[in-house]
Symmetry: C2
Subunit: 491 residues, 2 copies
């Protein structure tokens, strides 16, 4: 069978785009930069969303919903925020169309201009802190631990499915606290929650750290992030959690009376992950045959394909297949039995490989006789004949093994693609020829950071949170440095 | 304790608004007509959404996500649709802001006007059928059974929390079929699914029927609806399911090759329910003390309040409370133990009544001694002393009883407020003085329908789907009629 994907080695970007489209994850829409998330892609996103939602609730958060629109003036309230955010966004200026008497169709009604234009939320700090002002009077009203699942819009010029789209789906947590310490703790709790999700469910190892000042979220005093390495050696920021200090409380005048009776500004965090995680999931594990999905996020964990000639053979096979399906489902494993007669087994094999189904069972007439099935693993592409007896328990264990194997493979890849650079020559050599994460000393100035970016396109992905102090010399300027940071080219 | 709500009998509209706000369901936002759904309200919506989602999946549907934006020109493609929809909507005309050098703050960048304006979806038929064109070639690609959970915007002039807001949350199903019969069957399946949801989960009895031509969805050949009766005698449309014929397939040129090799237009349905259901839920059951929530949708099903003096008493009570909580949770019942020392028991009682928690347990020192608890039902406000022994099983049964009782109460209310009118005088008498559903003959013309609406504000809520034929005379014109339809004033 001809390969349907461009190979990774030939053209990684094209491979990614082919894969997202051919595996029915998403496609471009009629609206520039906006994607359609197709049912199979959405089913994966639902699994990610539901798991994250459980983790947010387990850490004491509640969901709520705030307006899609933000009054234009709100953006000017927090000075850094407006610089970072308010520029490339969708602006609603009118609220009515009318029939176009001249050209036919409809036109914007010039009599229906809004008094104040509305911005489609690129993120919701401003409208939420405007709302919190009415919710918070006393320390008894704190903390507020709210999350929102929503769509947001950032008018990106160059877009790529899942990785960078004008509209995307995400969650944004917005919390309010009585003390700085509590807010900082919350910001760290959530970045750790993201890291746990990425590693345990997505099987993607991540580094946790903070951003340099110039890479920080607009309005944040500290941005925590998780960074993952993709198979082309580029980094991908998979989630961020911001300690916002009292900036938004001051911008929206949100004060509370403390236990001691003093009026104080509230401390804030915000944190988010988005459908970008779908891009990370695809790029971290997949191969030239298609997706490789970790079992914990696979909408179909096991597919059963009958190999038969004629309806008589199919009857016996279906009986066996249904029995196995039922046994697996009783263990909470999701199974699809694909007995369509419109497609050949070979086509189905390729299709489910493309879609990353972790385990494939093929059952032929001889298997029925022998009490066996052919079992194929998507991660290693290994095939084995296994007994039907005890197959559900076998597959349950195997799914855990596959989850672990995918994670370990990604971890090995990251280890093999993480380098130390101690001189500018070494740095250039790694960044230009190898890619991956580069651990190097940096003098801590934005000027050096900018210069390195300009010369190599590499950015500081993070300042490791657990990075032990190490005296050294900046890889570019030779000035003194207190610790290594991690550079990479990034998505 | 002073009542926090305006009483229903005094001012129903004010009672509703008070209740939504005081029970922490939702509030108005800084953006005209857009609401903030607060955590408690959102928790109820989540329960509704999750249950509906399970029912959609059980009937073979998958979720997907389509863009928020719709190109303006798409609305002109289906003639009826543009008349019905494209007028009052939010229009995006620009994609960038810039610093306002004169007035400070930010302004819309006049250089960033879109070539074609984008409409925030008021509903997604157009963008989805534009997408389906690429998905459908052959009968093998059909049916497509897709649902989307999304926010939509309709620029309403007079808004009311949940009932009519500029932005609201909803689901919209969009299905594509090879035959008219199959599409009709789908439209009916989904209205029946909505009815089952309303009656079984919301405890709201509904009538199922079709809309008259003038009340139909813009672009539909038939609109099925469910209609519920609120406690003020007004009807509320709780869900609609549309048979769209081939209108959108023709507008977006979506054809398929049939089994017989013929090129044919695809048949369509769409169906939706929204956060408006929250309004129906509140108005159908609640009283002057606050919400009355059916147990199946209550975020907290049982609340436990300790009655104590001093930490010593609290210790023993908490032990008992935790034991009961654990036993209830093992049965899948959600429990809150409110041992806050910042509020008195009386305040807590009023608070959980306001929030509609179905069962309240109060435990005092004497209860600990006697092995009893005080149990209060929210629906009947009855209180009883019950033994701790077997309390989990008792409450499990009781929650079912409460669910049924709330439904039966609403059913009785509807029966008592449904009238037959056989003359115009009777019709006026009922509509003006009693309210409720009025079953009456209608001559089938839009002119008569309009006239009745003009004179009484009553509209045809539905033509009963199971209405047996009955010869009669139109209540207004006296012209012949084939069957009764149901009139009411409506939300």
């Amino acid at each position: 069978m001809a390969k349907v994907l461009t190979s990774k080695s030939e053209n990684y970007a094209q491979w990614y785009n082919d894969l997202v489209i051919k595996a029915d994850l998403a496609e471009n829409s009629a609206v520039r930069g906006c994607m359609v998330i197709k049912p199979y892609g959405y089913a994966i996103w639902e699994k990610m969303r539901d798991q994250l939602d459980r983790m947010f609730k387990a850490t004491g958060h509640e969901n709520a919903y705030f307006p899609l629109f933000i009054p234009k003036s709100f953006f000017s309230r927090e000075a850094d925020h407006v610089e970072g955010f308010a520029k490339e966004c969708a602006v609603v200026t009118h609220y009515r169309l009318k029939n176009d008497e001249v050209n036919g169709g409809v036109m914007v009604d010039p009599d229906a201009a809004l008094e104040e234009e509305l911005i489609i939320r690129p993120t919701s700090e401003t409208i939420i802190w405007h709302t919190y002002k009415n919710w918070i009077q006393s320390y008894r009203d704190l903390p507020i631990l709210i999350n929102q699942w929503a769509n947001v819009v950032r008018w990106e010029m160059r877009t790529r499915l899942f990785l960078r789209t004008a509209e995307f789906l995400w969650q944004e947590g917005h919390t309010a606290h009585a003390t700085k310490e509590e807010a900082l703790e919350e910001a760290r709790l959530m970045i750790n929650t993201y890291a746990e999700f990425a590693e345990t469910y997505m099987a993607v190892p991540v580094h946790i750290g903070t951003k340099s000042e110039s890479e920080r979220f607009a309005g944040a005093l500290e941005t925590y992030c998780i960074e993952a390495l993709m198979q082309d050696g580029k980094a991908l920021q998979a989630g961020t959690s911001h300690f916002l200090g009292q900036n938004f409380a001051k911008a929206f005048d949100v004060q509370f009376t403390s236990k001691e009776g003093k009026l104080e500004y509230v401390w804030a965090t915000s944190w988010g992950v988005s459908t970008r995680l779908m891009g990370a999931l695809v790029m971290a594990h997949s191969d030239d045959n298609g997706l490789v999905l970790p079992p914990k996020l696979a909408p179909i964990q096991v597919v059963i394909v009958p190999i038969y000639k004629g309806p008589e053979q199919l009857g016996g096979i279906s009986e066996t297949a249904q029995k196995i399906k039922k046994a697996l489902e009783q263990k909470g494993i999701s199974v699809k039995y694909d007995d369509r007669d419109t497609h050949k087994p070979g086509w189905k094999f390729a299709e489910y490989e493309l879609k990353g189904v972790p385990v494939r069972l093929a059952i032929g007439p001889r298997d029925v006789e022998n009490g066996t099935v052919e079992l194929a693993r998507r991660d290693t592409l290994e095939k084995n004949i296994v007994p039907q007896d005890g197959i559900a328990a076998h597959i349950e264990t195997l799914l855990h093994e596959i989850q672990e194997n995918i994670y370990n493979k990604a971890l090995r890849f990251r280890a093999e693609n993480t380098f130390e650079a101690n001189t500018w020559e070494e740095f250039l050599e790694v960044i230009n020829n190898k890619g991956g994460f580069v651990s190097a000393h940096w003098d801590g100035t934005p000027e050096t950071e900018d210069k390195i970016k300009e010369l190599t396109k590499a950015t500081i992905r993070l300042i490791p949170i657990d990075g032990s102090a190490e005296q050294g010399r900046c890889v570019y300027t030779g000035n003194p440095s207190e610790r290594r940071v991690i550079f990479a080219k990034a998505y």
